[in-house]
């Protein structure tokens, strides 16, 4: 990573910590949503950005995670046990889904995961004995961690931010480990990765399962954040939204999901003046972006920096590209 990049990250972290002290409760709710959705988007970025597979199941995994926590905590299970249970369950389900689904690639996988999301929605809606059907589950308690009550909006935001920080560090570390470098190899050139002896299918499956478990962990925070979950929240819309977040931020870029989730959370607020036309504008903007800059907003920033640096950048482009990816 470049010096400029490090500086940007430090500033972003400082802003994320200071922000809740300047915001009204609704603003804090928004940035908490950002933190929670970013976790799911990081997971999807592993599948989409690194393994290059379009998954439309991430919203369903968020749903599975949310329901796991919402159902377990009232039984007296401690929050963090339920939290990890959500992650483990989604890892297992992701593995189970990915194993057959990754036999087929790209567009097939997109529709298989789309089918999976619809199936999960049907189960959540129809199995009323377990999920309370369309009436949903209210009042999932926010946890108390060794005396620190996180029931307040600001406290819960810091919990979300902390979890986000830990999970991003873990992902960062994983991507830098020899094992995680295989993911980068998948992204850069999967045919070459295969020829170097990497079992690409296994690594793709691994990326998918880990991505799914991050979706579950995100859902585990989502339930206590919004305090009301119902099947519709986790229907296809959420999966599409998460996918677009990763794309808008810049898929395959470690910081892409952070930017994409921020745009997805803030843009509806800023475009409120356009009333109902927000989604039309958003969709049109994405189509324009895909036509001119498929590498997302961060790709646009990188391009701008490269243009500013001019000649110097030309010589180091390849080096920087490698640095930005890891």
């Amino acid at each position: 990573m470049t010096r400029l990049g490090t500086l940007a990250v430090i500033i972003a972290v400082a802003v994320a910590i200071a922000a809740p002290f300047f915001l009204k409760p609704y603003g804090i709710f928004l940035i908490s949503t950002w933190a929670v959705l970013t976790i799911a988007a990081i997971g999807l970025n592993l599948t989409l950005g690194y393994a290059g597979q379009i998954s439309l199941a991430q919203g369903a995994f968020v749903g599975i995670g949310a329901y796991t926590v919402a159902l377990l905590t009232p039984l007296g299970v401690p929050f963090f046990v339920a939290f990890f249970a959500a992650g483990l369950l989604c890892f297992a389900v992701g593995w189970g889904l990915g194993y057959p689904a990754l036999r087929v690639q790209h567009h097939y996988l997109a529709f298989v995961t789309l089918a999976f999301t619809t199936l999960v929605f049907l189960v959540l809606r129809n199995e009323e004995w377990l999920t309370n059907g369309i009436y949903g589950i209210t009042g999932t308690a926010r946890p108390t961690i060794s005396g620190w009550k996180t029931s307040g909006a600001r406290d819960f935001y810091f919990l979300c931010l902390g979890v986000l920080a830990l999970l991003s560090l873990a992902t960062w570390w994983m991507l830098r480990s020899p094992w995680g470098r295989a993911f980068v190899a998948l992204r850069e050139n999967s045919i070459r990765a295969l020829s170097l002896g990497l079992d690409t299918r296994r690594y793709t499956l691994m990326a998918f399962a880990i991505g799914s478990s991050l979706g579950g962990l995100s859902g585990a925070l989502y339930a206590p954040l919004v305090q009301f979950i119902e099947p519709n929240s986790f229907a296809l819309g959420l999966s599409f939204n998460l996918l677009l977040m990763v794309i808008v931020g810049g898929s395959g870029n470690f910081f892409g999901p952070f930017v994409g989730a921020l745009v997805a959370v803030l843009l509806p607020e800023w475009l409120r003046i356009t009333q109902g036309y927000y989604l039309i504008i958003y969709a049109a903007a994405i189509m324009v972006m895909m036509a001119f800059c498929p590498s997302g907003l961060l790709g646009l920033v990188e391009r701008a920096i490269r243009a500013l640096n001019g000649r110097r950048a030309d010589a180091t482009t390849s080096v920087r590209a490698e640095g930005a990816g890891t």
Binding site: I54, H106, A115, F240
Partner: protein, 291 residues
């Protein structure tokens, strides 16, 4: 038994509509590697063109022609020129994302610029019932079947019996070789987009009296078309037809005999089974895969 025949006929009618949508879907894939995630919305939209034309005072038959013409221009030509052409150089994935955004765009546009309420849509024939032995079959189902069969037959004649159709098939099978043989490949690709636009417009006219014209119609229809294409075989027109019919019948029978709550689930389970056991589809050829 009587109810079984009723279910079978209405299932066949639904399946025939799915088949039309799925055929367009596979045509686009074959000639230009376009996975059209907005295919369902492409079926939803022409109904609104027709309703708008009728609101402007056109009789139903004229409105249908206007609807088909508009969908040829918008869903055929503009879709190819504005969305697909600039994206093809980036490969399959960005185009998929773009059509996902397009589906959102079309859905929201129909909602905001026409109506969020389901709109009644005129039927092709007056809705009465015909008694065949003990079974009661609606004329509507029969009309849908008749139109769909006519359309598919016409398409088959076009693709297999005419010079134009053979050129299109050659383009789909091997664009490089087709170009060497002097076939105007780009124009053939454009023709498949036009063909797809006509197919979705006809499907729209057939499906809207049953489901009403609603902006959310595309979600289920697009999914059904894709499942039909997978079941039958992604690279075969007749596979898509078979897949559509299987899906329609299965949908109706399972809703009646197994569980209506999980009606949406059966096609998905069949989809997963087909992908596991026969990824190339029932009638498909195995394509070479790049990793």
């Amino acid at each position: 038994m009587a109810s079984f025949i009723q279910l079978l006929v209405s299932g066949l009618a639904t399946g025939a509509i799915y088949a039309l949508i799925a055929v367009g879907f596979t045509l686009l894939w074959q000639t230009s590697q376009t996975i059209n995630f907005a295919q369902g919305e492409f079926v939803m939209l022409p109904a609104f063109f027709i309703l708008a034309a009728m609101n402007a005072g056109a009789p139903f038959w004229l409105a249908c022609l206007i609807g088909i013409a508009l969908s040829i221009v918008i869903l055929g030509i503009l879709f190819k020129v504005i969305i697909v052409d600039p994206m093809l150089k980036y490969g399959v994935l960005p185009l998929v994302i773009s059509t996902i955004a397009l589906s959102l765009f079309l859905k929201e546009s129909a909602k905001d610029f026409y109506s969020s309420q389901a709109q009644p849509f005129p039927t092709l024939v007056p809705a009465t019932d015909i008694h065949i032995f003990d079974a009661v079959v609606s004329t509507q189902s029969l009309a849908v079947l008749a139109v769909a069969i006519l359309t598919v037959t016409a398409l088959n004649i076009l693709l297999n019996k005419t010079r134009l159709g053979r050129q299109m098939q050659a383009t789909a099978q091997n664009p490089t070789l087709a170009r060497i043989l002097g076939i105007p490949v780009q124009r053939m690709v454009l023709y498949t987009f036009l063909l797809n636009a006509v197919l979705v417009a006809i499907a729209s006219i057939l499906v809207s009296p049953i489901y009403l014209a609603k902006f959310t119609n595309g979600e289920t229809l697009g999914m059904a078309a894709f499942i039909a294409a997978i079941i039958g075989g992604f690279n075969q027109v007749r596979g898509a037809i078979l897949g559509g019919v299987i899906l329609g019948v299965l949908d109706n029978l399972s809703a009646a005999y197994i569980s209506s709550q999980y009606r949406g689930a059966f096609p998905l389970i069949v989809l997963i089974a087909v992908i596991l056991l026969r990824p190339q589809g029932l009638l498909g050829r195995i394509e070479e895969r790049t990793v």
